[in-house]
C-alpha cells in the first residue's frame, strides 16, 4: 500500500506549495493593489494616524494635517475650503480621497517609493513617519478672481473657469460653482461626514463635480475658432479671404436653413474671414465646416486636444466633436462648425484652444502639479512642460490670434478688454435643450505679443433672470478679471 501513499505525499506537496505560492502572491505582489483599494479601513486608519503632507499654492497650504486628540492623531484641514475643493478634493475616512488627495496619495501619505529612504531613517530614528508635500501651479489671485467672478453672478449660478499658461500648459486657475467644503468630509465625526455626503450627492447642482474639467457642454461660437483654424490650414485662407455671408445658410435639396443669431446678415455676402469671426457669423462657419469636411475638422479639433483625456491627477472628461454618429449630413456638419449638434467641450479644453492659438499653434499639455517634495523639502520631481501637438503653423496661428484681438477690440468680445493690453477672445452662446436658456462661453488670452494666460469661462445656468444670457456680457468680465490677476 506504499505506492498510493507516495502518490498522496506528492499531492500534499502540491497542496502546500500552492498555499505558499498563493500567500506570496497576495502579501508580496498583490499587496500594493489591495492597499490602494477604496474602503480599506486598515490603510485609512494608518493614514489618519500619520502626518499627511500639505498641498501648497504659492507656498501657502490649501490642505494640511494638524494634530488631533480624538480617535485619530491628525485632522485634515482645508483653510480655504470650497475655493480649492475642485483641486484638493477631499480626504475622507468613509469615502476615500478625490482629486489631488487621491492622485498624489502616495507622496502625501509618505508611501511613495521615492520616500523609502526617509521611511527607513524615520524608523531607525524612532521618528513619526511624515508625508511629502505637493505644490500646485495655481495662481492664488487668479483662482480667487475666477471664483469671485462666478459668485458675483449669484450663488445659484452654475459655471466654471479654467486658466492656463499658454507657453507651458501650467494651470493657473480652475474654479467651479457651486463648490463644496471638503472640511466636512474630512471630519472625524463620521456621522456628520455621512450626512454631508448624502446632502452633497443628492444636490441637483452637483457641487462635487469639477465643471471646469468634467462638464462637457456645447461650446457654441467659441468652437468657431477650431473651424477657422481648420479652414485656414486646409483651405489656405487668411484674415482677408472672402467667405460666405448673408442672413441664412441653405442646403441643396433641404428645407432646413441655418440662420445667424439675432437674425442679422453678418454685414453682407461675401465678407472677410476677419469680419465673420468679429460678428460670429453662423453662415460663414457653417459653410466653412462643409468646405473643410468632417474628417479634417475632427482632426483639427483633436490637435487642440479633443478626444483625449486632457489632464492627469484630477477627474476630467474628454471633449468630442461628434457623438455616437459620424458621417454627418451637410446640415449637421454646418451645425458642428458653429459648436452645436453633438460638439461637447469642457472649459479646460476651450482654454487649451485659446492657449494653442496664442502660443503660435503649439498646444502644451496642461498640468497641475508643479513640484513634489520630500518631508525634508528636498525636491523629488518638477513637472517639465510638454508639447501636446502642433495644432497650426505659426504664421496661420498669428493671423488667427490677430483676428481674436479684433473680436475684443471691435467685435462681440469687448467686455473682456483691458486698457493698455492686447487681449484676444471669442464669445459663444450655445443653444441647449428646447425651452432651456443657452450656455454662455468666453475664451481669450492676453497679452497677444507675449501670451501669459489663456482663459475659458462657461456659465451653464444663471440664477434668477435666465433669459438674458450672452457669452461676452457674462463671461467677458470674469475672463478679464482672471487675466488682470495674472498680468498684475
Amino acid at each position: 500500500m506504499n505506492k498510493p501513499i507516495r502518490i498522496l505525499a506528492v499531492a500534499c506537496l502540491v497542496m502546500f506549495v500552492g498555499l505558499l505560492f498563493n500567500v506570496n502572491y497576495i502579501q508580496a505582489f498583490e499587496a500594493d493593489d489591495l492597499n490602494g483599494r477604496d474602503g480599506n479601513r486598515r490603510v485609512m486608519d494608518e493614514q489618519f494616524s500619520r502626518e499627511r503632507g500639505a498641498i501648497l499654492v504659492d507656498g501657502t497650504a490649501i490642505a494640511e494635517s494638524v494634530p488631533s486628540n480624538d480617535r485619530w492623531r491628525f485632522q485634515r484641514q482645508y483653510p480655504e475650503g470650497a475655493l480649492y475643493a475642485p483641486l484638493t478634493g477631499y480626504f475622507s475616512y468613509i469615502y476615500g480621497q478625490s482629486a489631488i488627495e487621491r492622485s498624489q496619495n502616495d507622496i502625501l501619505s509618505g508611501d511613495d517609493n521615492r520616500l523609502f529612504v526617509n521611511r527607513v531613517v524615520d524608523l531607525l530614528g524612532n521618528q513619526e513617519p511624515q508625508g511629502g508635500s505637493v505644490e500646485l501651479t495655481i495662481d492664488p489671485v487668479a483662482q480667487r478672481a475666477a471664483a469671485e467672478g462666478l459668485r458675483d453672478l449669484g450663488e445659484g449660478t452654475r459655471g466654471a473657469v479654467a486658466a492656463i499658461d499658454p507657453q507651458t500648459g501650467a494651470i493657473l486657475a480652475l474654479a467651479t460653482q457651486p463648490s463644496y467644503d471638503p472640511n466636512v468630509l474630512a471630519s472625524h465625526d463620521l456621522q456628520s461626514t455621512q450626512d454631508a455626503w448624502d446632502q452633497l450627492t443628492a444636490d441637483a447642482n452637483q457641487p462635487m463635480t469639477n465643471r471646469a474639467t468634467q462638464a462637457t457642454l456645447p461650446p457654441g461660437s467659441t468652437f468657431k475658432l477650431v473651424t477657422a483654424a481648420a479652414a485656414m490650414e486646409n483651405l489656405d485662407l487668411n484674415p482677408d479671404s472672402q467667405v460666405k455671408g448673408g442672413a441664412a445658410l441653405t442646403f441643396p435639396g433641404k428645407t432646413y436653413t441655418l440662420p445667424n443669431q439675432g437674425g442679422g446678415n453678418c454685414g453682407g455676402d461675401p465678407i472677410t474671414l476677419r469680419q465673420a469671426l468679429e460678428v460670429s457669423c453662423n453662415v460663414s462657419f457653417g459653410d466653412l465646416a462643409n468646405q473643410v469636411g468632417e474628417d479634417e475638422l475632427v482632426e483639427q479639433a483633436e490637435k487642440f486636444g479633443f478626444g483625449t483625456d486632457p489632464i492627469s491627477g484630477i477627474a476630467a472628461n474628454e471633449s468630442l466633436v461628434t457623438g455616437e454618429s459620424s458621417d454627418l449630413e451637410d446640415t449637421q456638419l454646418a451645425q458642428t462648425g458653429i459648436g452645436q449638434y453633438e460638439v461637447t467641450a469642457t472649459p479646460l479644453q476651450m482654454a487649451m484652444v485659446a492657449a494653442g492659438i496664442a502660443n503660435d499653434g503649439a498646444v502644451m499639455k496642461p498640468y497641475l502639479v508643479d513640484t513634489v517634495r520630500a518631508p525634508n523639502l528636498e525636491v523629488l520631481e518638477t513637472t517639465e512642460p510638454e508639447r501636446l501637438s502642433e495644432a497650426m503653423n505659426a504664421g496661420k496661428a498669428g493671423q488667427l490670434k490677430d483676428m481674436m484681438v479684433s473680436v475684443v477690440d471691435s467685435g462681440t468680445g469687448r467686455p473682456a478688454a483691458i486698457p493698455g493690453v492686447q487681449v484676444g477672445g471669442k464669445t459663444g452662446t450655445a443653444e441647449s435643450a428646447e425651452g432651456r436658456p443657452p450656455y454662455a462661453w468666453f475664451v481669450g488670452f492676453a497679452p497677444a505679443n507675449d501670451p501669459q494666460v489663456a482663459v475659458a469661462v462657461m456659465v451653464e445656468s444663471l440664477e434668477g433672470n435666465t433669459s438674458d444670457i450672452g457669452g461676452g456680457r457674462l463671461g467677458g468680465p470674469i475672463a478679464r478679471a482672471v487675466m488682470e490677476a495674472i498680468l498684475r
Binding site: M1, K3, F16, N22, A31, R42
Partner: protein
C-alpha cells in the same frame, strides 16, 4: 527491518524535550509581544502562562516518554508550537475585539482550559490505546458512533444552528461540534472496513485511458460515503465537513485498493456533488462568487475582503503582534485566524505556520509509510490526509486560493472540540509511530549477557 538491525532503535526523547521547550518559548514570546504591542508592557501574568505552558508541554512529553517511548519525536513539539501561537493570537484578538466593544466575549482563557483538556485527552489515548490494532476490533462500533455523532446536531433541542450551519450541539453550558469527533471515528471505521474489503474492491473493471476503473457492483461503499457527505451538505449546510469526509473516504479507499480508478470515480462524484450544491444552495453560490471576484459585491463579501486587506497590510514582515487590525475581520479568532496571523506576523510568519503544518503532514505520511500492518497504514494515512485536507481547505479558503468553506485551522483556531480532537489525532499517530519504531519483542528481550547465544528458543 529494525528487528535485524544491529543498532538499537533510538527513542530520541531528549531531542523531543528540547524541541518541546523551544515550542513553549515561541508561544511565550508571542504572548509577551502581544502585551508590548497592545499596552506597551509585558503582561504581569506572563509567569502564569509560562508555568502553565511548561506544565502542559512537559506533561505531554512525559506521557509520550512513559507510554509511547519510541514514538516520532517531532510531532509533539510541532503541534505545541501551533497551539502556543494560537493561544497568543486568540488573546491578542480578545484585546482588539474588546477595544471595539467591551461586551464581546473573551476566548483566551477558555482556550487555555481546552488546551489542557486536549492534552489530557492526548494522554488518555496513549494510556488506553496501548496497541492501535486493538481498535480494529471496534470497526463497526466506531462507524455507528460516527453516524450517531453526525446526526446529533439534527436532533431538535440539543442541535444548534450557528451562522447558517447546523453542526453544533449544546448541553447545558457546553457547546460542542460532534463533527470533529466523527472525523476520528470515521477514520478508524474506514481503515478497519477497507483493510478487510480491500481485495474485493481492488478487482479491476473496465480500463479507460490507462486507468482500471472499479467494477460497477463494487460502487456500493463509495456511493454510501458520498451520500453521507451530501447528507451533511443538505441537512447541516456545512460544505467544509462534507468535502473533508468525502475526501477522507476516497483517499483511504485509494490507498487500500491501490487503484487510481477510485480517485477518478471520487472526483466525478465530487463534481456532481459540487454542481448540486451550487445549484441548490444560495450560500454555496455566494461563496463561489466571493471566490471568483470578491470586489464585485463588497457588502456581501466583506469578510474575505477584510482578510485580504489584512494580509496585504501585513505584507512581507507583518505589522507585528498587537499592531495590526485583524479584529476587523469577522471570526478573526476562529475560521480566519490564519489571516490574522498573516496580518501581524506577515508573509514570513504565515509561511512558517504553513510549513509547520506541512511538517506535521510529512511526519504523518512517514508514519503511514513505515507502519507494518495494513490497519495502521490506513488509519495513519486517513488521519494525516484529513489533517492535510482540512489545512488546505481552511488556509486556501481564507487566502482565496479556493472558495471559502467553514473549517477550523487545527490547533490554532478558537474552539474546544477542534483542539481536543486534534490532540487525540496526534496521540493516535504517535501510537502507530511507537508501534512501528519499537524494536520487535524478541530483540527487545535480548540482554547484554545473551550476546553469545546463537540459537534462541
Amino acid at each position: 527491518m529494525s528487528d535485524t538491525s544491529p543498532l538499537a532503535p533510538r527513542k530520541r526523547r531528549g531531542a523531543e524535550l528540547v524541541l518541546t521547550l523551544m515550542a513553549v518559548v515561541i508561544g511565550v514570546f508571542g504572548y509577551i509581544a502581544v502585551g508590548l504591542g497592545t499596552t506597551g508592557a509585558i503582561p504581569t501574568d506572563t509567569y502564569r502562562l509560562i508555568g502553565g505552558l511548561i506544565l502542559a508541554a512537559v506533561g505531554a512529553h512525559l506521557a509520550v516518554r512513559r507510554f509511547a517511548p519510541y514514538a516520532d519525536p517531532v510531532l509533539l513539539p510541532l503541534v505545541l508550537c501551533l497551539n502556543g501561537l494560537g493561544l497568543a493570537m486568540i488573546h491578542r484578538l480578545d484585546m482588539g475585539r474588546q477595544a471595539i466593544n467591551p461586551d464581546r466575549a473573551a476566548f483566551a482563557t477558555g482556550q487555555v482550559i481546552w488546551t489542557f483538556v486536549g492534552i489530557i485527552a492526548f494522554t488518555a489515548v496513549l494510556v488506553l490505546v496501548r496497541d492501535h490494532r486493538r481498535l480494529q476490533g471496534f470497526t463497526y462500533t466506531f462507524g455507528l458512533v460516527a453516524i450517531g455523532l453526525l446526526l446529533l446536531p439534527l436532533i431538535p433541542g440539543i442541535g444548534q444552528e450557528i451562522n447558517g450551519a447546523r453542526i453544533w450541539i449544546r448541553l447545558g453550558p457546553f457547546s460542542f461540534q460532534p463533527g470533529e469527533a466523527a472525523k476520528v471515528c470515521l477514520a478508524i471505521f474506514f481503515a478497519g472496513y477497507l483493510v478487510v474489503k480491500r481485495d474485493v474492491l481492488a478487482l479491476a473493471g473496465k480500463r479507460l485511458l490507462g486507468i482500471d476503473l472499479p467494477r460497477g457492483r463494487d460502487l456500493g461503499p463509495i456511493l454510501l460515503g458520498w451520500l453521507i457527505s451530501v447528507g451533511i451538505l443538505v441537512f447541516q449546510r456545512d460544505l467544509g465537513s462534507s468535502l473533508l469526509f468525502f475526501g477522507l473516504f476516497v483517499v483511504v479507499l485509494f490507498v487500500a485498493t491501490e487503484r487510481p480508478g477510485w480517485l477518478v470515480v471520487g472526483a466525478l462524484l465530487f463534481a456532481v456533488g459540487a454542481w448540486f450544491g451550487y445549484t441548490a444552495f444560495g450560500h454555496v453560490r455566494v461563496r463561489f462568487e466571493a471566490w471568483l471576484d470578491p470586489f464585485s459585491n463588497p457588502d456581501q463579501n466583506g469578510q474575505i475582503i477584510s482578510a485580504l486587506f489584512g494580509l496585504a497590510h501585513g505584507g512581507v514582515l507583518g505589522r507585528g503582534w498587537g499592531l495590526g487590525s485583524p479584529e476587523l475581520t469577522p471570526f478573526s479568532f476562529s475560521d480566519f485566524i490564519l489571516a490574522s496571523l498573516g496580518e501581524e506576523l506577515g508573509l514570513t510568519g504565515l509561511m512558517a505556520v504553513l510549513l509547520i503544518y506541512g511538517l506535521v503532514v510529512e511526519r504523518g505520511l512517514r508514519i503511514a509509510l513505515t507502519c507494518r500492518d495494513g490497519f495502521g497504514k490506513l488509519l495513519g494515512i486517513g488521519l494525516t490526509m484529513s489533517f492535510a485536507i482540512q489545512v488546505f481547505i481552511v488556509a486556501g479558503g481564507v487566502t482565496r486560493l479556493i472558495p471559502l468553506t467553514g473549517l477550523t485551522a487545527p490547533f490554532l483556531a478558537q474552539g474546544g472540540s477542534s483542539i481536543v480532537m486534534n490532540w487525540a489525532i496526534i496521540a493516535l499517530l504517535l501510537r502507530i509511530s511507537d508501534q512501528t519504531r519499537r524494536p520487535a519483542p524478541k530483540t527487545s528481550r535480548v540482554d547484554a549477557d545473551d550476546q553469545t547465544q546463537v540459537v534462541k528458543l
